[in-house]
Structure formats: C-alpha cells, structure tokens
C-alpha cells in the first residue's frame, strides 16, 4: 500500500470498496492501531494518533469473523468495553440493555445466551452492540456481512444505516461487494492494488467516475472503443447500461442498430443483451418500460444515448 491518503467525513458512512487483497483490511487495521503503518500518519480531529495504542483510540470495530468472545455470554461480551473502562456495574447494566435494544435484541431474551447458540445474524447484532456501547468516535466495519445469507444481509445493512443515522457516528465500512456498498454508503472510496482510485460522495463516484476502472468497478459499465465528434481523440469509453435507451423516441447523440441476444430478468430491471457490430452491449430497462417496448430475443432494436452520459472517456487507455 502506497500513497494512500484517506480523509473520512465526520458523521457519514464511508465505504471502502475493492477486490480481495487490495489492502482494504490493512487500511482499517492501521486506523484501529492494530497494524503500524510503515510510513504515514493517522490523524483524528487533526491530532496525530499514529503511535497511540489501539485501546486508547476510542474506536469500535466489527471484525470479519466478528471476534465475539466465545467464553462469555452475550451480556458479558457487550459489557466488556465498559468494564475495562471501570464503569460501575449498575451503569454497565443499563447501558448494555440500551445497546442490545438498539440493535434489535431483546435484553431479557438474549443477555444470558451463549455466543455459540446464536444465529449468524444475531451474532452480527451482538458484535455491533459491543462496539457501539463504548460510544466510539469512529466505527470500523470489516466485511461484516461476508458470511450471511442474502436476505439477512439486506436487513442488517438497513439497520446499520439506521443506527448510524441515529447516532451520527463516523463510520468506515470495508467490502468487496458493490451491492453492499450501494446499499449503505454516503461516501465511496474505490481501491485497487493498494491505491485509492477515487473518493467522493457515492452518487458523484457513480455519475462521474474518474477512470474506466472506477466506472466498471463501482456499478456496471459497457466499455466501447469509440471516436466521437464531441470528444477529442480516440479510445475506450464507458456507458452505463441504464443510460442506453432502446428504440428511443427523441433524437439522441449516438444511435446504433443491433439484435437482442438474451434477456435477463432481474426483478425491477430487465437486462437486455444486444449484439452491436460484434460487441455485446448490456442495457438495463425498468420492468414496466420493458413490457411497453415489446422486444424479445432476436428482435432488431435501435440503441441510443447522450454524449453527456458517456463516462471515463478522459481516462481512455
């Protein structure tokens, strides 16, 4: 990892998105103080925390394997951070109660349970409660959903976002899953090979990716070799599947003809794979619109888009 500089916005959720082994987890461990950076600094509110040991950083961290203490009850797991701080047992009790309620676990039902008796989703909630109860300045989450089923993952992502909004806690969330990133991020940091490719509000990163890599890593993108009148030079450009219109009624900047090769039903959206001059373009259409279009596999269609929707032409390689 080199030249990584990351400024996290207070009170927002920053998602660090990158493929496995790109250095995301190491970055998080450096923030937590569990790994010493070879060089560089960790600042909180402008103060240098680089040499501060992890226990003095006031950080809450949820680990990929959760790292719940298997020899303690749910209650003792959540109480751990408070007891270490010498909080009185009376206050510990009420704060553990609150924390469990906050994450949606009934304290009377769960407090005395053993960790191994809980489901994956429940363990996830306990890990969250344990790191929130100490009222950390920063909450770090390291692929916390990696081992959960799709539906449970969706529900928990919603709850983490709700909690974060409620508590206003500065949050850094690391994942390789762009769908997870989409569901939860305010800000997105796209990483690759230990380098930050782009950092910004997620809508901005999606709408104005600085490179083709970002365009195709955060969201889907069709890559095209192209030469346009409006843009200088020649190279690769990216166009998002939902920015392509099928059989457009209005006049558009770019229009191709092609044949529908495959239809992939994706629930609210239908993906239409269209072969155009030997390339396959993926087009996303809303379910309702799609029915109106009345195209099927083998249909001839016209595809069109606006020059303004073309992404990443700058970084053409």
């Amino acid at each position: 990892m080199r030249g990584v500089s990351l400024v996290v916005r207070r009170g927002r959720i920053t998602v660090v998105l990158g493929p496995s082994g790109c250095g995301k987890t190491t970055l998080l461990k450096i923030i937590a103080g569990l790994v010493e950076p070879d060089e560089g600094k960790v600042l909180f509110d402008g103060k240098d925390y680089t040499r501060v040991p992890p226990e003095k950083r006031g950080i809450g961290m949820v680990f990929q394997d959760l790292a719940l203490f298997p020899h303690m009850s749910v209650y003792d797991n959540v109480a751990f951070g408070l007891r270490v701080r010498g909080v009185k047992e009376e206050e510990v009790r009420s704060r553990v109660r609150e924390a469990l309620e906050l994450v949606g676990l009934d304290p009377t039902m769960y407090a005395s349970r053993k960790i191994e008796e809980l489901s994956g989703g429940e363990q996830q909630r306990v890990a969250l409660a344990r790191s929130l109860v100490i009222e950390p300045n920063v909450l770090l989450l390291d692929e916390p959903m990696a081992h959960l089923d799709y539906k449970i993952k969706q529900r928990l992502l919603g709850e983490i976002r709700r909690l974060q909004r409620l508590l206003g806690i500065t949050t850094v969330y690391v994942t390789h899953d762009q769908a997870e990133a989409m569901s939860i991020a305010d800000e997105v940091v796209v990483m690759s090979n230990g380098v930050v490719l782009q950092h910004g509000p997620q809508r901005e990163v999606y709408e104005r990716p600085l490179s083709l890599d970002v365009a195709s890593f955060f969201g889907e993108a069709n890559l095209l070799e192209a030469k346009f009148a409006g843009i200088e030079g020649e190279g690769l450009v990216a166009i998002r599947p939902e920015d392509i219109e099928i059989n457009p009624e209005e006049e558009l900047d770019v229009v191709y003809e092609g044949v529908v090769e495959d239809l992939v039903f994706q629930g609210p959206l239908i993906r239409v794979d269209v072969r155009v001059n030997g390339n396959q373009l993926k087009v996303l259409v809303g379910r309702r619109e799609f029915y109106k279009l009345g195209v099927g596999v083998g249909s001839k269609v016209r595809l069109g888009w606006k020059i303004s929707d073309v992404k990443g032409a700058k970084a053409a390689r």
Partner: protein, 258 residues
C-alpha cells in the same frame, strides 16, 4: 463390504485392549501365576493395601509427575506465548525432534550429564529428567490447542483493554482447557516413565514403575512378586491413565463438534 470393514475395526480395537483386559482380569485371579483362572479373589488387592513399598512408589511417582507437569507446562506456556500468532515457526520445527529421540539415548545422556556435574541423584534429578522431555511435549500440545487468539485479542484491544487485561480476560480463559490437557499429558508421561527414571535416580529413591520392574525380575520369590500381585499393583495406574485419556478424548470430541 462396508459391514465387513466395520466388523474388522471392532475386532482390531478389541485386540488393542486385550493386554489390559487380560491384566485386569488376572488381578482378580486367586492363582498367583495365571496358569488358569482359579476363581475370583481380592487377595492381591488386599496384599497391595498392606504394601508399604508400593505406597511409597505411588507417592513418589505422584509428586515427581505433578511437579514435572506443572513446571514443564509453565515453561512451555511462556515459550508458546512468546512465539505468538504465527502459525508455524522455527521453534515449532525445533520442538518436535526431542519428542522422538530414543528415550534410552536421552536417559543415558542425562545420566552422564548429571554424573559429570556431580549432581546428587534422587527426586530432583528424576524430576528434571522428566521435565526435559515434557517441555517439548507440553509446547507442542499448547501450540496445537492455542495460547494466542489474534482476532479476539485485537477485539479486546479495540474495546479498550490493555495488554495485561487482554491476557487475563481473553487469553488465559481461552487457553485454560489446553493448559489442563497439557498438564494431564505430561503428568501421565512422567507418572508412567520407566527408563529415564531408572537412569536418573539414586540410591533409595524409586517410583512405582521402578518398584514393579524390580519385582518383575524375580517372579514368585516372595509373595509381593507373584505375577498377579504385580497385576493388582498396575490396576490403579492403568485406571488413572485410562481416565485421563478418556477425559482428554471427550474434551477433543466436544471441541470438534462445536
């Protein structure tokens, strides 16, 4: 085919237990020489209860084993903790060989070393001799059961616990079952050791295996040396070993099921 294989396994396991079963049955045999089963009897156990030498042997075996077990596990725990979270290290490579070095070679070497430095042979030299071997065994056991828990230690740190607090509240409780297992194993190895004890002991100090050895050399010369009197002496030793082994197995099985 499958049934045949299972039957085979049953027979094999039964054969493994044959010598022990043979010994236990004969300890209840009225006949002193096992020339046949002459009827059930407790005479050898009654004899054992009056056997002051055997009591001294059991006591000496016990104190040596307990001291060696505790000492070797303490020494090994520190080393395993120092080695840290890395999965495999040079030290792990170094710890195996002493376990497989021929015991008789190590026994002779220890004898010669003690002799060379002029040590007085007895309880202490025996205990040190056992520990020399047990440390390696305890180290390997503790490395396998774990004395470091990287992620959990990290979690404790981020929750605000310093190094000592993390050690006390996370490392120790989690390492504890492994420590008990290591103590049990080293205790057992020491308790039942013969060769090394023989070479490192001095006049007047003997453990139970040495006593049995002495008596087994002159079968039937006196009442205490009848084969079935020896069998009766073995029974508690065997039962102790079996119960430790079974406790260990149950522990391992319960861990794996989790």
């Amino acid at each position: 085919m499958r049934g045949l294989l299972r039957a085979y396994t049953f027979v094999l396991m039964a054969l493994l237990y044959l010598p022990v079963a043979f010994m236990i049955v004969n300890s209840f045999n009225e006949d002193p020489f096992m020339e046949g089963f002459r009827g059930p009897s407790l005479r050898w156990f009654e004899l054992a209860l009056r056997d002051v030498q055997a009591a001294v042997g059991y006591f000496n075996s016990f104190t040596v084993a307990l001291a060696s077990g505790l000492l070797s596990v303490s020494l090994a725990f520190l080393a395993a903790y120092a080695v840290g979270n890395r999965r495999v290290t040079l030290f792990d490579a170094l710890a195996y060989p002493p376990i497989v070095i021929p015991e008789i070679a190590e026994a002779v070497a220890l004898f010669m070393m003690f002799h060379t430095v002029g040590a007085e042979m007895g309880w202490l030299t025996v205990m040190i001799g056992h520990t020399a071997f047990n440390v390696a065994f305890a180290y390997v056991t503790l490395r396998a059961t774990g004395v470091r828990f990287e992620n959990l230690e990290n979690a404790a740190r981020t929750l605000g616990a310093g190094g000592l607090r993390t050690f006390k509240d996370v490392v120790l409780p989690l390492a504890f079952p492994g420590v008990v297992v290591a103590i049990a194993i080293t205790f057992l190895l020491s308790f039942t050791n013969f060769i090394k004890t023989l070479f490192t002991t001095g006049p007047g100090f003997y453990t139970l295996p040495l006593l049995i050895w002495n008596r087994a050399k002159r079968p039937g010369v006196e009442e205490f040396t009848y084969p079935n009197a020896l069998n009766a002496l073995f029974v508690p030793l065997v039962l102790i070993s079996l119960s430790i082994a079974i406790a260990y197995t149950v522990y391992v099985m319960s861990k794996r099921k989790e």
